[in-house]
């Protein structure tokens, strides 16, 4: 390990996901000596990028696997809709505009896209899907990094970023649980993700309910570097109490369940809490548009759990679930298997069924088939739950990412007390709050990571040369 500590690296990249890799590749291609400090072991490398699937990309005409066109204004409108305007429009436009040139760059660095998608999401125009998903993308970038001679250290937990007089000198890092070592660099790119892996931090921000949340992504995003930077006075963006949470299968693993834990059954179901009471309009809008709000809704229920109940009419209307549904021939039997009060569930479903009316049911569009005279109303897809067998899924909030992060400018430069740090850049989830203040847009996390990762890498490469010259002088 002495080579690591004796070298003064041109660019130290903290983190090992998409943004970190994009930064490292850019810097190495500019001729710099680059080291990647990835906190996870090799098998879990790549942070949350392992779990991603696609990249949202602006394009003025057909581009690679993308059809038609998806131009800046439409993309920005989509972003403004989900963030309710809570974005830095300047940075957002930069990310959107640059995304167009990123796609060919990704292909040139080994990323493969699926020619067309036969699945459930009709995103062939706006989103390019990675062949094999995010881990395949991460693998491609690690192979590129190896070919470029980038040093990669796994299980390298950065504990402290040394900043003195607005200038970065070194990081303190523990490798594979060993003693702290000091790795020096001329520049640093911070791309170490959010803090959703630190349940205590989530609980401080959200209250004790957060201890019942499930974390959909990597357990290695514990926000250590983010906290260290904020403690040193780095400027922050985003609300620490906010995180993006969706309602996922309640039986999912505590960490790292990823995509398969999603449940698409809610619009065709009645959803009750542990007391057997309904609490929200299950048919408010098409899934997945309303998917995101259910994390919050379930988080507000007792014990942060809810139960989605359908009958045999709806069993095949949504994507297959990873865990089989709980199944019973009667509602009472289902209640017993799921630990719900049977009599109360029977009453709730009875009242719901009585409020259903005749009409045309269209599972793929807003059909206006609404209930009458029940609170809360179900405004679409309201069909009585009557045909056995009955099926139930438990729901829990699953955290996708946190919003609190480092504030950056259009060169991905980090500021402290309003002043630009000389040689510190940030990319990916650690600065995504600068653009994505709330809500979520499928594939936009990868856009931010790729665009700002590349910018950070280019900037750091230039900064390393300047730093070298200034030392020489």
């Amino acid at each position: 390990m002495s080579a690591l500590t004796e070298t003064v690296w041109d660019v130290v990249v903290v983190g090992g996901g998409n943004a970190a890799l994009c930064a490292a590749i850019e810097a190495a291609e500019a001729g710099r000596r680059v080291i990647i400090l990835e906190g996870a072991p090799k098998t879990y490398r790549g942070g949350n990028s392992r779990h991603t699937r696609n990249f949202r990309c602006m394009h003025r005409g057909p581009l690679s696997v993308l059809t038609d066109s998806y131009e800046e204004d439409e993309y920005l409108d989509d972003l403004l809709r989900v963030t309710k305007g809570n974005t830095d429009e300047n940075l957002a436009r930069l990310a959107i505009r640059t995304s167009e040139q990123c796609l060919p760059w990704m292909e040139a660095h080994g990323v493969r896209f699926q020619p067309s998608l036969s699945g459930t999401l009709s995103l062939g125009r706006t989103n390019a899907f990675f062949l094999g998903g995010g881990k395949a993308l991460v693998n491609a970038y690690y192979n590129t990094a190896a070919d470029l001679g980038i040093e990669v250290v796994y299980e390298a937990q950065v504990a402290h970023v040394e900043i003195e007089d607005g200038r970065f000198n070194a990081v303190e890092v523990e490798i594979a649980g060993g003693a702290k070592q000091r790795i020096e660099g001329r520049t640093v790119v911070l791309a170490s993700g959010g803090f959703q892996g630190d349940i205590d931090w989530l609980a401080r921000a959200w209250g004790p309910a957060a201890r019942n949340f499930l974390i959909r992504g990597t357990p290695y995003n514990r926000g250590v570097v983010l906290k260290d930077m904020l403690d040193q006075g780095a400027d922050s963006v985003g609300d620490p109490t906010q995180c993006h949470a969706v309602a996922i299968d309640g039986r999912a693993p505590k960490f790292d369940g990823g995509i398969v834990t999603r449940l698409d059954c809610v619009p065709f179901s009645v959803v009750v809490n542990k007391n057997g009471e309904r609490f929200y309009d299950e048919g408010e809008d098409v899934w997945p548009k309303r998917y995101a709000i259910w994390g919050r809704l379930v988080a507000a229920q007792p014990d942060q759990v809810a139960y989605s109940i359908i009958d045999s009419k709806s069993a095949n209307l949504f994507m297959p679930s990873v865990f089989p549904a709980v199944e019973a021939d009667t509602l009472e039997g289902l209640a017993e298997k799921m630990g719900l009060p049977a009599e109360k569930l029977r009453q709730t479903v009875g009242a719901f069924n009585a409020a259903c009316r005749e009409g045309n049911f269209h599972p793929t569009e807003l059909d206006g088939l609404a209930t009458e005279g029940v609170e809360p109303q179900k405004t679409n897809w309201a069909r009585p739950i009557t045909d056995p067998p009955f099926y139930g899924y438990s729901l829990r909030p699953g955290v996708t990412f946190t919003y609190l992060g480092l504030k950056v400018d259009e060169t991905a430069r980090v500021t402290m007390d309003g002043r630009k740090l000389e040689n510190v850049w940030a990319a990916g989830e650690i600065m995504a709050g600068s653009i994505l203040g709330e809500g979520y847009l499928a594939g936009f996390g990868m856009t931010i990571g790729t665009v700002f990762g590349r910018i950070a890498g280019q900037q750091a490469a230039q900064g390393a040369v300047r730093g070298e010259n200034s030392h020489a002088a």
Partner: protein, 359 residues
């Protein structure tokens, strides 16, 4: 919960089903090969569905290296291995007669023993049944003796494989076969589409998560080499019986024009496959079969090489040695074919036909 229960209790088919159901909820891999689009057709999977999917898999391993749920993740996905094990179990189930099932699949030693028996049989025939006169090979082994040995040694294995295919077709619920299905299946087999990794440019067999087409090319060399050798023998048979032109044949005859490139492809392709096998991660296939599979590709390669050696020895006294060696290898190859990796070609083709019916 259900997914992390002790998996040692699951049968091979149940374990493959457990993994396939996770894949069906994920669907990130749908561009790699035919297995994933086939999975998305269903929500629940019968044993026959598992058999079909297992025989559709070409063990390219692209999905394994792309999967975020591989060990040490608690979902423990290793689909290439799960399907390889389900696939070889299905071959054992379909093999006829069942007494040989599994023997040559698993055991390289058994296949080597078969080869020695093949040599011995031909050397014995060469000594005991030596013709009084004859030209070329037939100076050492008469045409009628060759026919007497190889006609049953060719037809009986074919019958056994046909019975196995019938059992396969029943288990996977196959429908009547139409020409369009056959055309599509043969076209996909001809270019080994499912080893192409979709747009990835090959598979992940021997260089971990890097893509290469090396395995696909070697496999094609073996496949086309074998078919050319087969066509060479077939053309010689026709020349002999229809045109009354017995062996030996000159360089510019049909048997040689087919057989020499065929032998070269088979020899080099087989050796290449053997080398690649030493580089691939054992635990992503049916690791218990590694020895049997290695012996099989080496036997293929040896059969091709000994055929070329026989041609090179034409007109010399060496023919007396090389001829029984080559014919012994051919004999061992044919007789064990229903019980070696050779069957994968037949079942894969059947799976491609079935897939053409379904997708």
């Amino acid at each position: 919960m259900p997914l992390d229960q002790a998996r040692t209790e699951l049968s091979t088919t149940e374990e493959a089903r457990r993994q396939i159901e996770i894949c069906n909820a994920c669907r990130y891999c749908e561009g790699y090969c035919s297995v994933f689009p086939a999975i998305t057709l269903q929500r629940s999977f019968s044993d026959g569905d598992i058999t079909q999917l297992a025989n559709l898999c070409h063990n390219c391993r692209g999905c394994y290296y792309a999967c975020q749920y591989t060990d040490p993740h608690e979902f423990q996905i290793n689909l290439p291995k799960a399907l390889a094990e389900a696939r070889t179990e299905s071959w054992e189930r379909f093999s006829w007669p069942g007494v040989f099932s599994g023997l040559f699949q698993k055991s390289g030693v058994a296949l080597a023993a078969a080869l020695i028996v093949g040599f011995a049989a031909l050397f014995w025939a060469g000594q005991a049944l030596r013709p009084e006169s004859g030209e070329g090979f037939y100076a050492f082994l008469s045409h009628s003796v060759m026919i007497g040995i190889f006609t049953p040694a060719f037809l009986l294995p074919l019958l056994a494989i046909a019975l196995g295919l019938r059992a396969y077709w029943r288990e996977v619920g196959g429908a009547p076969v139409r020409l369009a299905y056959l055309v599509r299946a043969f076209r996909e087999a001809a270019r080994l589409k499912d080893l192409s990794g979709g747009v990835a440019g090959g598979c992940n067999f021997e260089k971990e998560d890097r893509y290469t087409n090396v395995r696909r090319w070697h496999h094609q060399a073996v496949m086309y080499g074998f078919l050319l050798c087969f066509a060479s023998t077939g053309s010689a048979t026709i020349l002999h019986y229809v045109f009354d032109m017995p062996a030996p044949y000159g360089l510019f005859s049909l048997p040689k024009l087919l057989g020499i490139p065929g032998g070269v492809l088979l020899t080099l392709g087989g050796l290449g496959m053997a080398v690649l096998k030493t580089r691939g991660e054992k635990n992503l296939g049916a690791s218990a079969l590694w020895g049997g599979e290695m012996a099989f590709v080496l036997l293929l390669s040896f059969t091709g090489a000994s055929g070329l050696a026989l041609y090179a020895a034409t007109g010399t006294a060496l023919v007396g040695w090389v001829l029984p060696v080559h014919l012994g290898a051919v004999l061992a190859f044919f007789l064990t074919a229903p019980y070696t990796k050779m069957v994968h070609g037949f079942f894969r083709l059947a799976a491609l036909v079935r897939n053409a019916q379904q997708t």
